[in-house]
Symmetry: C2
Subunit: 289 residues, 2 copies
């Protein structure tokens, strides 16, 4: 029997639906998104499809994780396209509340993960991760999933959500999935639509620099500074690029390291004209470019 995908707009309705599914022994998997789906999102949904009896996807462009002057207003949105794509990969429920449902009058609560949100994107986007953790706490309490799937392209977000879930004793498994890339190697992102044709070659410098760093690592380089300097030089040779950060961090604490030991990640954020792109590589992992 084919059951039509449902669209839920209210927190209360979402909770009632999830609660009754849980009470009949169903496993709920959940992919929180800001919509405008690409292959990266769809890969998370396919994983969620495998891991749960019921696959819930939220679409909500959360205002509180955008800073002043960031791209909240122009962030790409296309609900009908998203609905069709979600239906195509077997999503059961799209949860898509509006701002009044999420942040009504008197709203005044936030969830804050401290240390792992300070470095990297936290340096240039103060308040961003507080917005992310707060909205995810709200979404988790609405959808009541057993398992939630995040992309590792947003590596710091993934680490931060895992931290919140563990610290607040949320009874929830957080799964991280590998970055999905376009044919030329650029990490999939809803923000790639901002790139103009002449900027794409420069945008390629991010993933190519990761590949270069991987090569250095495989030849035995363990000095963080040597890798960082090579990466920065490589990116800066491309026009329109402006480096926000290039760092090598411990994957648990996200603190900078001088020497590559334990699990470490090369993380970078680069502006191509007005478009801010991020990418990362965990040393020792595969990198399909």
């Amino acid at each position: 029997m084919y059951v039509e995908m449902k669209i839920v707009r209210s927190v209360r309705e979402m909770q009632r639906m999830s609660e009754s599914l849980r009470n009949t022994g169903k496993i709920i998997s959940f992919v929180p998104t800001m919509g405008y789906f690409h292959e990266g999102h769809l890969s998370l949904m396919r994983e969620g499809r495998k891991r749960g009896d019921c696959l819930m996807v939220s679409i909500y462009v959360n205002p509180t994780q955008f800073g002043p002057g960031e791209d909240f207003e122009r962030y790409p949105r296309d609900f009908e396209r998203d609905r069709n794509l979600a239906d195509g990969v077997g999503v059961d429920v799209i949860f898509s509340p509006d701002d009044r449902e999420m942040y009504p009058e008197y709203y005044q609560t936030n969830v804050n993960v401290e240390r792992v949100t300070q470095n990297l994107c936290g340096l240039s986007r103060p308040g961003h991760f507080r917005g992310v953790t707060t909205v995810c706490a709200k979404l988790f309490n609405s959808v009541k999933p057993h398992v939630t799937i995040f992309g590792k392209k947003d590596f710091q977000q993934f680490v931060t959500i895992k931290r919140m879930v563990q610290d607040l004793n949320m009874d929830l498994e957080v799964v991280g999935m590998p970055t999905v890339r376009e044919a030329d190697g650029i990490a999939m992102s809803s923000r790639n639509v901002y790139l103009k044709a002449h900027e794409r070659e420069s945008a390629l410098s991010l993933s190519r620099s990761l590949k270069m760093a991987k090569g250095m690592y495989e030849k035995g380089e363990r000095n963080a500074r040597n890798i960082l300097e090579a990466v920065k030089k490589f990116i800066e040779e491309h026009p329109y690029t402006r480096i926000d950060y290039v760092k090598i961090c411990d994957t648990t604490t996200l603190e900078d390291v001088d020497h590559l030991q334990g699990e470490t990640v090369l993380a970078l954020a680069v502006r191509i004209d007005k478009t801010r792109l991020i990418d990362n590589y965990v040393f020792g992992d595969v990198l399909d470019i």
Copy 2:
């Protein structure tokens, strides 16, 4: 069949127990406490007993809600006495984790309710409510209750927890219960054991001043300043008293009001030598003194 009360120390075990109870349709009620039970705590448990199939009580003296120089170390503790009292009112499970279980290595997350925590006790106890909301979020995620019972003696705490639950979409009913008083009118508090014999008469000034304010209200007084001045004067006439605050606030926003309209609360905190006591009266409510 008599089932013995259980003591649970681990978050994981608590979650597994609650999850399986929920899956068999049981309603879980929950009273979070710092132990050293008095009649106030027991009244919350009796209400919880009525409202749930399974009554869970946590005992955890949470270090993060005590400020530097406050009474964390000397806060009274007596687990065996608490265990017997809980058993006597029909508690099913005592959840009593230790600090390592609650705040392990790398712990770094907090939940913060903003505006309603700024006034009253928030003025002299910065960080206190952040500690309370964070530990309650953790306890709620561990015990997974349908309903939780708080005492209104800690009025600002009650308002703050309700705000957090609503703002973060926790699927949980928060019930507030009236203050239980000793025979002479002093609000029950674990901290009353700190009072020396000669300080008790001064401690009575709190509840007696509430009664006086109630009398003024019932005679038609609606000017906040007139009531506040009478209350302060009354308390200050007692030896050993040092007023921390005496305020009249809107019960939703906890902002000061000049005029008594809508639902308002007279809240006060007074030090009797080293012992800080609080009490409150919602205008129009009964006051059994």
